[in-house]
């Protein structure tokens, strides 16, 4: 499914993980990436926003599973049964040393690339903090509505890498 890639030549400080979301190319700071899975079993959660596909289990931990494509209004990130799952680190939970982990369903993984090369190619940057803010936004009573618009504005979630 995913071709093997080399990270040779990618420095520790400037590496980013590139992938597709709804046919568009995005990148995320590799320091925010915990793991990449081929797929994950998803248990749908009633009354969650459309972009929140549900929850999954990763080694005994329940993690939220989101589709950044739906959150950005681009449509599903990957066709059903295809793509990969990128686990990103979130903010620490109060009183615990562990970090929140969020599973993002994405399209094909394009590999690890230096930040400068990504910027030159015009790949858009996925802001993990903004993504997590969307997950922390309360929704209305019993409604399957997305979070507050400020958190889901594409402008808040993506930017051109510098």
């Amino acid at each position: 499914m995913n071709p093997a890639v080399s990270i040779a030549g990618v420095g520790d400080a400037d590496a980013c993980l590139c992938f597709e979301v709804a046919g568009r190319r995005f990148a995320v700071d590799v320091a925010a990436v915990r793991e990449v899975l081929a797929a994950i079993d998803v248990t749908p959660v009633p009354h969650a926003p459309e972009f929140a596909l549900g929850v999954g289990a990763v080694r005994g931990r329940i993690v939220p599973v989101v589709d950044p494509g739906l959150l950005l209004g681009l449509g599903p990130a990957a066709p059903a049964g295809a793509g990969a799952v990128v686990l990103v680190n979130g903010v620490p939970v109060a009183g615990r040393s562990e970090h929140v982990v969020v599973a993002c369903v994405v399209g094909a993984i394009a590999g690890l690339r230096p930040r400068a090369a990504v910027a030159a190619d015009g790949v858009r940057w996925l802001e993990v903090d903004a993504l997590l803010a969307a997950l922390a936004t309360p929704v209305g009573p019993g409604a399957d509505t997305p979070p507050a618009p400020t958190a889901t504005e594409p402008g808040a979630l993506v930017r051109q890498p510098s």
Partner: protein
Amino acid sequence: MSIATGTHSPHEPERRSEPGAAGVAAQLDRLLAHADRWLQAIVAGGDAPGLAGGGTPDATEGEHFQRAVERFAARADAVLAAVDAQLTGVPSGAGAAVADAVRRDLQALGVGFAVLRQPAAQALCARFDAALSAGGAAAAAAPTGPLRAAVAALRSFVARGAREPGADDGELLGVLDHLGDAPSVDVEAGDDAPLVLRPAGAFADDLAEFVRSARAEGQGAVAAAAALAQAPADDAARQVARRRLAALVGQARLFDLGPIAELADAAGRLVDGGATARPEFDAADSGRLADAAAMLVRLVDGLAGGPLPTVGAWRRLMGALRRRGTAIACSGAIAPPAAISVDDARLARLGAAAMALVSARDRLLSAPALRACDDEALLRRLGEIERAVSDAHAAVAALGVAGDARLDGVVVRAGARCFVVAAADVARGVAVDVDAPTAEPPADLPVLSLAEHFGAPADAAATGGAFLIVAAGGSRAAVRVDEVLGRQQLTVQPLGLPVGPHAPRGGAILADGRIGLVLSASALIAAAGGLVGAAAGGAA
């Protein structure tokens, strides 16, 4: 979606083939029941064996109990004096590190007060803890005056209680009324500030033991890092390093020593990455691992009074480890290894049992009155529990499992989904036969179909069902489900998703590996009432 086959930690196959895993699980279950029995007997009062000869504290007031009270009072006063000094030093706010230390100390005191049957003092400790947990940035500048007043009231109460058990708690109740607005402060430490590790507090002896063992683990990790540097492809060296770091993570989490736990975890991930993509794990990585091990030794030494690294140094090292570890892991992940079936259910069960045991151990060992107890039988049993808990925790820490709140839950199925309701909220179940609908729920109860309520896909094979009668806050409702799957001890975890007030509030990994969504009885009752009202309105 399909079954996960992505990258996993390379030592997982070892977990599955680890001999005696089932035996460990059985032992944990046995120990858990053992610890629970003792906790219930000791903390709830009742017939606490070994405490003042088996009677209740109020009834005996013997020499032994009085001595225990005096020791507890001396200990409590010392802790409260330290708390007051910490609060005095930061008059405009407690600060996150101080707040954490104060909370832990007061939690321990709260257990002691519970054992001594001083509900007002116990409630004040709990309220204090809640006040420090709530609030946040908005309360950052709030004064610590109310907190200090509460501490003063507790000290006064303890002093009187040592002379006369069962002292008047009117003053404490007065403080309780005014503590609701107590501040909570969250302060970001500067990069040049020394790392703050949780003070020993009531766990001085435990912490000393941790320092002894952690120092050995840290030094072992240094040696393992050196071995890995010489031979990056040496699986044995990698396993030794991983095992030592995993043990250190488990121990540090037990004591809430976040910087140590995070550093050891990051170093462990670097070691993991080295195994999944070995050609990428180079000499520089071995150097990073050696740096991490050296800082771990410094951190552990800091607990024993040595100089601590600064926040900036820790952050720089953490950043390097995380970036490199993740980069290596991702490069391995993109070419997935062979599929690994992780037994999530077993891991979750082990984690839940171990964390419950750890909690029990903490509560037992942090009760000063118990620690001062001279009863040999009780001390012997406490020692047994402590050793068993320590063994269990080490076994589970090696598996890298964490645990959350435990729940005695009733697992049901609605459509293709599984849900969990707290057993304490289920009044009783009524079987339903769809072909002979005589087994109706009580006519006076509102009825809610779980499948319809949550829009679960219809179960074409369903031929029967059941009603759960749930109760909360004096109200009841009948909840129709397709099947009652049984009662399970579960570990409840947050969903991490934005959901409405009537949505599931948490999840639990069931025995078969599926995720059960945890439902609130009060939300179900509210939803049932709403449906009845809507139906009535429609009919009208």
